[in-house]
């Protein structure tokens, strides 16, 4: 029954693979084996995986084939995936790419994992990230940096650099990442693929190892917009185990596909075309905006006046929440424990000194400072108030517009090591993505073109729970430019 070779199998989109599985033209076992072979052939160059779960994958693929044979097939049944390694998986090491959790084996599944398993998706392994999702290049992984499939001397972005590189390098069909300030969208942009950060509360965070609880959100990373809608259908929805998840009747997001853009009002906030944005990136995005107009959308410049403050607000709120969330790593209940011979307090300090990397420690210290007596009002409380103003900017804009478009990142993928010595340079990577986390709104990055041979992402932000509109625009745009059909990374 096999008519495709392994090279063709790994290049399939989720939708295409799903239809071949359904028609029994391929089996999940052969699809899964093709991906495992691909991982074993190329991942020593890309380094997208922290853990490869060969045995689990083959077992799940056999079960999926049996399920398909019985006529019980869902869109993700038999589809091989990678999960970012801050999404916990029962019985499978989940490290957050940190020495602190390098031996941690969860005893339960996160809600998203449970849902994906329930639909018959296949776990190929766990994806590399900046330690505890703190970073924009995946160079802050305690294990190794991940490389960009478009140019292995460049970063894939971050913090979901493992998942985005894995999808771009055909090491899995889709992946899940997490996005606290741009960690799905920015690496999706750098790797020339599609990444969605859903509305805060649309996808359960139960079993996502916490970084900044009011900003974190899990989302799909896929080869195209159609696949993204399919994965979102599976992971979205209320979860009683996450008290911040929204009780919401989730629509079928694939119904938003294949529509034109007549009647859609799109705003272009001028503050997102900042000084310091690469000319090549700006050129590609200006062309994209013209294409959106030619597809029927009304496009108009607008202003979000508090945008300048978003970076400061984010780098106060996220580290503050992180300092509280990461207080749990004490080397007692789980995780790394220093063998320092001192007393309890000294051992605790050594556990956290040796278990965390520099960026994580920097953010814990920053957050501790912002929350400490005498500084709380000046930093944390002030940032929360400005957060209200940033939200209001968006609320105001969404009275006029159905969506806002802008670049995902000010630059294309940069070289490894280029920004590692300068935390502020690294933080500036998130400047165009983090406002969506501050406001809790959805944002997608869709490939828009190339600049110097490297992918540029177009970002589309929508109203709270406006994923259908965001997907509709992204899909219409994707169909118009056919990025994936025209551009792929050179063979690895």
């Amino acid at each position: 029954m096999n008519s495709l070779d392994s090279k063709e199998l790994i290049n399939l989109t989720l939708q295409k693979a799903g239809s071949l599985l359904k028609n029994r033209e391929i089996s999940s076992v052969e699809l899964t084996r093709a991906f495992l072979e691909r991982i074993h052939n190329v991942d020593d160059k890309i380094k997208a995986f922290v853990t490869v779960t060969d045995d689990v994958a083959i077992r799940q693929a056999n079960a999926a084939d049996a399920r398909i044979a019985s006529g019980d097939i869902k869109p993700l049944t038999g589809i091989p995936m990678q999960l970012k390694d801050n999404i916990i998986t029962s019985g499978i090491r989940t490290t957050c790419s940190s020495k602190m959790l390098s031996g941690f084996v969860p005893t339960y599944d996160s809600t998203v994992t449970k849902r994906l398993y329930g639909h018959g998706a296949i776990l190929l392994g766990k994806g590399n990230l900046d330690e505890f999702a703190m970073g924009s290049s995946t160079e802050h992984s305690a294990f190794f940096p991940t490389r960009n499939p478009w140019d292995i001397n460049r970063v894939p972005g971050g913090s979901s650099g493992g998942p985005t590189a894995a999808v771009a390098a055909n090491e899995c069909i889709f992946a899940l990442g997490s996005d606290t300030g741009g960690s799905i969208r920015q690496p999706a942009s750098f790797c020339g693929i599609v990444g969605l950060k859903p509305t805060y509360g649309l996808v359960s965070r139960y079993g996502l190892i916490a970084f900044a609880s009011s900003l974190d959100q899990i989302g799909p990373i896929t080869k195209d917009v159609t696949d993204n809608a399919i994965v979102l259908n599976t992971i979205a929805g209320h979860d009683p185990n996450d008290s911040t998840s929204i009780p919401y009747k989730v629509p079928d997001y694939t119904k938003a596909l294949g529509k034109d853009l007549y009647g859609v009002h799109i705003g272009v906030p001028k503050e997102y075309f900042i000084q310091g944005i690469d000319t090549g990136v700006a050129n590609v995005i200006h062309q994209s905006i013209a294409i959106l107009g030619s597809l029927g959308a009304t496009v108009e410049e607008t202003s979000l006046e508090h945008t300048d403050n978003a970076l400061a607000v984010y780098y106060i709120i996220a580290p503050s929440e992180a300092s509280a969330n990461l207080a749990r790593y004490d080397g007692v209940k789980y995780g790394f424990s220093s063998d320092h011979p001192g007393n309890m307090w000294e051992t605790l300090e050594h556990t956290r000194k040796d278990g965390f990397g520099d960026e994580v420690k920097r953010r814990i210290l920053l957050g501790t400072y912002a929350l400490s007596a005498g500084y709380y009002d000046a930093y944390y409380l002030k940032a929360q108030k400005v957060r209200t103003l940033i939200r209001r900017d968006f609320e105001k804009a969404f009275k006029r517009f159905d969506a806002l478009v802008m670049p995902t990142s000010p630059s294309v993928a940069f070289k490894l090591g280029e920004k590692m010595g300068n935390p502020i340079q690294m933080y500036l990577n998130d400047i165009l993505t983090l406002p969506a986390n501050i406001a809790g709104i959805p944002g997608i990055s869709v490939p828009a073109g190339l600049s110097d041979g490297l992918p540029v992402g177009l970002q589309i932000m929508g109203k709270p729970l406006g994923e259908e509109t965001v997907i509709r625009i992204a899909h219409a745009y994707e169909q118009a430019i056919k990025f994936r059909g025209n551009h792929q990374p050179s063979p690895i």
């Binding site: 031996g103 084996v105 005893t107 339960y108 805060y200 509360g201 009011s214 009683p240 008290s243 911040t244 508090h306 403050n309 970076l311 400061a312 607000v313 780098y315 106060i316 207080a327 004490d330 007692v332 209940k333 789980y334 995780g335 424990s337 007393n343 309890m344 307090w345 000294e346 051992t347 605790l348 300090e349 050594h350 956290r352 000194k353 965390f356 420690k361 920097r362 814990i364 210290l365 920053l366 501790t368 400072y369 400490s372 409380l381 002030k382 940032a383 929360q384 108030k385 400005v386 957060r387 209200t388 103003l389 939200r391 935390p423 502020i424 933080y427 501050i438 406001a439 809790g440 709270p464």
Partner: protein, 97 residues
């Protein structure tokens, strides 16, 4: 570069956060944090008079569930990842000496 934060403050925060830092690291941490804090000055120009803080982007109400006993994780699973254990207990260093 203007110093926003002193070595003494860095040592105090590190103690609050229970993160050991070495004397060799402290100047670099101070300089980097000073630089980051300088970036926060932009917020001094924002008028927030009468503005309520946002803690969560979703307007959350207290979520409750029925107070009904449920099966919880087994002792063995709970202790599975503990670095030091003895029988059914987590082993820790003396808290009061």
């Amino acid at each position: 570069m203007s110093i926003r934060i002193t070595n003494e403050e860095i040592r105090h925060i590190a103690l609050l956060a229970r993160i050991g830092i070495t004397p060799a690291e402290i100047d670099l941490i101070r300089d980097q944090m000073s630089e980051i804090l300088k970036g926060f000055d932009i917020l001094n120009n924002v008028d927030v008079e009468g503005i309520r803080p946002t803690g969560h982007s979703v307007d959350l109400k207290t979520v409750t569930r029925e107070d009904k006993a449920r099966e919880s994780q087994s002792i063995e699973d709970t202790l599975l990842n503990a670095p030091h254990r003895q029988n059914e207990f987590v082993r820790v260093k003396p808290v009061l000496e």
